[in-house]
Amino acid sequence: MNRKRLAVALLAVGILAAGPGSAATSPDEILPDPALEARARALGKELRCLVCQNQSIDDSDAPLAKDLRRIVRERLVAGDSDAAIKRHLVERYGDFVLLRPPVKPATWLLWLGPLLVLLAGGGLVLAFLRRRRTAPVEPPELDPAERQRLEMLLASDPHNRPA
């Protein structure tokens, strides 16, 4: 019983250790300057690993991700700005290398799409509610046959008989 519990605990620790908290950056890559290293880590989280595609280069153990991390750090040491480093990689790998796509005419639909859908949906709901409030659904007029049947039903119900 206890052994089982221990196994579960170990498994949990393993999962946590392998989770998103752990970065792939190995000690030999880390820059001596903590400020530059912090920028490198932040940049690494913004850049896509082209091999694994849904991981950042900060998270990925792929050799290409390691190469890209090294390039980021070299350029940081050389004094490049964050934007210049991103541009350097976009020139080689395209906007795809950025985990956050840039806002430009080709991506307007991507960025504004959810807002448009929300507005359209909200508009529809508003229009529907307003219509319901201003023009409540009226029951159709009874035709003579229906009127006659209604009177018959009312007459047959003892509670509805006129006092």
Partner: protein, 190 residues
């Protein structure tokens, strides 16, 4: 005929009948996008270097093969291919006969030997054939990154002005030759 009370009369409903078609239309639109998306391989990325000059590089030779190496100066003059390969890359073995075939037809193929041990690369070429005119060794994989390479093999078609016209990701197969590479080389004029 008996009519039940409260049942809406038939004359009201059909006025907004087109609204009921809206979900169907939306579904069709989403379906078209999904169908288009299914036909694409998300692993295959477009190259941003298409129609741009190949990046500047100068790679050392493969020791034991020749002393020439491979640099941007070797590009252009006529249409050619640049193949990124490594001896440890299994798909490269699969595509190698295709490259051999092209070379026999007279197509110039240069190569970037990516993150490889020179001895392994030499053994690879000895056993499978050497279709390459020039080979540059890129042991750190830096030149490949300048080319936007994210895996091996990759093959680029270069025009006579030294611009990249096409990038193929993964092993070149005979059908790729027929569909894209040969027509493009013919268009670029050999």
């Amino acid at each position: 005929m008996s009519t039940r009370i409260g049942e809406p009369s038939a004359t009201r409903a059909p006025r907004r009948g087109w609204l009921y078609l809206l979900p169907v239309l939306l579904f069709a639109a989403v379906g078209v996008f999904l169908a288009l998306g299914l036909g694409r391989d998300p692993q295959t990325l477009p190259s941003v270097l298409i129609d741009k000059p190949a990046p500047a590089f100068a790679l050392p030779p493969l020791p034991g093969r020749d002393e020439r190496g491979f640099s941007s100066a070797d590009l252009g003059g006529r249409p050619m291919l640049v193949n990124v390969f490594a001896s440890w890359c299994v798909p490269c073995r699969i595509e190698h006969p295709v490259l051999d075939q092209l070379a026999r037809e007279g197509v110039t193929i240069h190569a970037i030997n990516y993150k490889d041990a020179p001895d392994d690369a030499l053994a690879f070429l000895r056993s499978l054939g050497d279709p390459f005119t020039r080979i540059g060794t890129d042991r750190q994989g830096r030149a490949a990154i300048d080319w936007g390479v994210y895996g091996v093999p990759e093959t680029f078609v270069i025009d006579r002005d030294g611009r990249i016209r096409y990038r193929h990701v993964g092993p070149l197969q005979p059908r790729d030759l027929e569909r894209t590479v040969r027509p493009l080389l013919a268009e670029l004029g050999r």
